[in-house]
Amino acid sequence: MTTEHLPEHPEFLWRNPDPKKSYDAVIVGGGGHGLATAYFLAKNHGMTNIAILEKGWLAGGNMARNTTIIRSNYLWDESAAIYEHSLKLWEILPEELEYDFLFSQRGVMNLAHTLGDVRESVRRVGANQLNGVDAEWLDPKQVKELCPILNISDNIRYPVMGATYQPRAGIAKHDHVAWAFARKCDELGVDIIQNCEVTGFIKDGNKVTGVRTSRGTINTEKVGLCAAGHSSVLAEMAGFRLPIQSHPLQALVSELHEPVHPTVVMSNHVHVYVSQAHKGELVMGAGVDSYNGYGQRGSFHVIEEQMAAAVELFPIFARAHVLRTWGGIVDTTMDASPIVGTTPVENMFVNCGWGTGGFKGTPAAGLTFAHTIATGAPHTLNKPFSLERFETGALIDEHGAAAVAH
C-alpha cells in the first residue's frame, strides 16, 4: 500500500530569520506602517540591511483590526497632501507589490445631518477641490441614488441632509496589504523578526545605538518606532514623552450577505461607518471607548449604540447579525493628526498618533517615515506633523474629517 503525500506546501511569503547582531536600521512594530516603512527604506533609499521587530505575529495589531476605509478627504492643506499622496500610492501599489489585495475604489460618503454638518461639509468639499482631492457635495436624492439602502426619509431623528462624496476612496483587504508589503520586504532582503519584543534601548549619551529584545540585543544605527497604541511604552523606555493617549477602538462584522451595500458610508452625527467587504460581511465601526485602554477590547454599549445608528440609517440591516466584535489600541492626539518625525533622542524616529485613521495612511506613512529615517529629516509631506507642533501651536485639527468620535 502506497502512502499518500500532502501536496507541496505553498511558498511562504517571507522568511523567519533569527535576528542578526546588528542592522543599519531597526523598525519597531511589524504592522502596516512598519512594513511599509521598511519597504520604502529598501526600495527608495537602498537600505536593505534592516530589520522589523514585531512582538507578536506579523500585522496582528491594529492592521488586523481596522475597518479598512481608504480616503483622503481631510480638511487642512497639510492633511490633504499626505492622505492624497497615500491614496495615489494605493492606486499603484497592487501592481508595484505584485499582489491584488482587492483595493476597491467604491467611494466614500460622509453624511450631514444638521445645518452645522452641512456647512462643515460644503466647506470641506471646497477645501478638497482646492487641494486637488476629488470631492462632491450630494443632496439627499443623490445620496439615495448612490446608496439605495440608505434611509433618507424624514422619519428618523436626524435625517440625512446631504453628504460629501469622494469617488476615488474605498476599501482594501488589510491582511493582504500587510502580506503584500511583507513579501516585498523579504524579497528586498529585509529581516522580519516576529515574536521579538523590545524591552529597552541602548544609548550612547543621547544617541540610540541598540535595542534590547526578548530575542537578544541588536545593535543599530537608527530606530524607527512604528508601534501605534504602544508608542508611549516605547518612548518611556527611550526616555522621552509623547502627547498621545491609547484608547480601545472596537469594530465588528456581520455574517456574509449578498452584495447590498455598494459604497462606504460614514456618519459623524448618527455615529457609525460601514462598508461591505468583498466576501460579503458588513464591516462596521464607530467611536473609541472613552477610557485609556490597552486591552484590545471595549465595552458592549459602544457596539449597541452603533447598531442602533446602523439600523436607523440602513433599515434592512435589522435582519443582519453581528458575527464578531473585537478591539484595537489607537494612539490618539489632541488634534487627531499623526506625529511623524524626529524625537528628542538622536537617531530615533517616531511614527505614531494616527489614532483611528492609520490604515488609509499606510503607504504615505511608510514613504515619509522611511525618508525621515534615511535622511534624518522629514519629507515635505510629514514635516508639518512634527512633535514640535504641540509647542508652537501649529496644530492640525482634523476631528471633523477623522469621522470617529474621540
Partner: protein, 112 residues
Amino acid sequence: MLLFSCPNCGPRNETEFHYGGQAHVAYPAHPEELSDRQWAEYLFYRQNTKGLFAERWVHSTGCRKWFNMVRDTVSYDIKAVYRMGEQPPAGLIPAGTGSTSPTQHAPEGAKP
C-alpha cells in the same frame, strides 16, 4: 459594561460617567511664567500608562461630582476609588506615573 462605585452614589453602570483622563495633574500655579514647552506639557502631555493608572471620572447622570480611580488599563480591573483631593492608596501607583514631570525634551533650537 464596566461597573463603577461612585463615592457618593454607589455602584453604577459606566454609561453614567464621563472620563477625565489622568488624575493628579494640577493646573499650573503660575501659568504666565511657563515657557512654551512647559505650557505644551500641561496642555497636551499626559501619562499613557500600560498598567495601573490614576484617572478621573465624573458621575454625569448622578451626583455630577468628580472622583479618582486607579484602574489597570490592560485588564480594566478597578483597584481603588477615592475622592477628589485625596491621594491613591499607598504603593498602588509606581513612582513617576502619577505626575506630568517631564523626562526629556528636544534641546533648544532642535531641528523640526
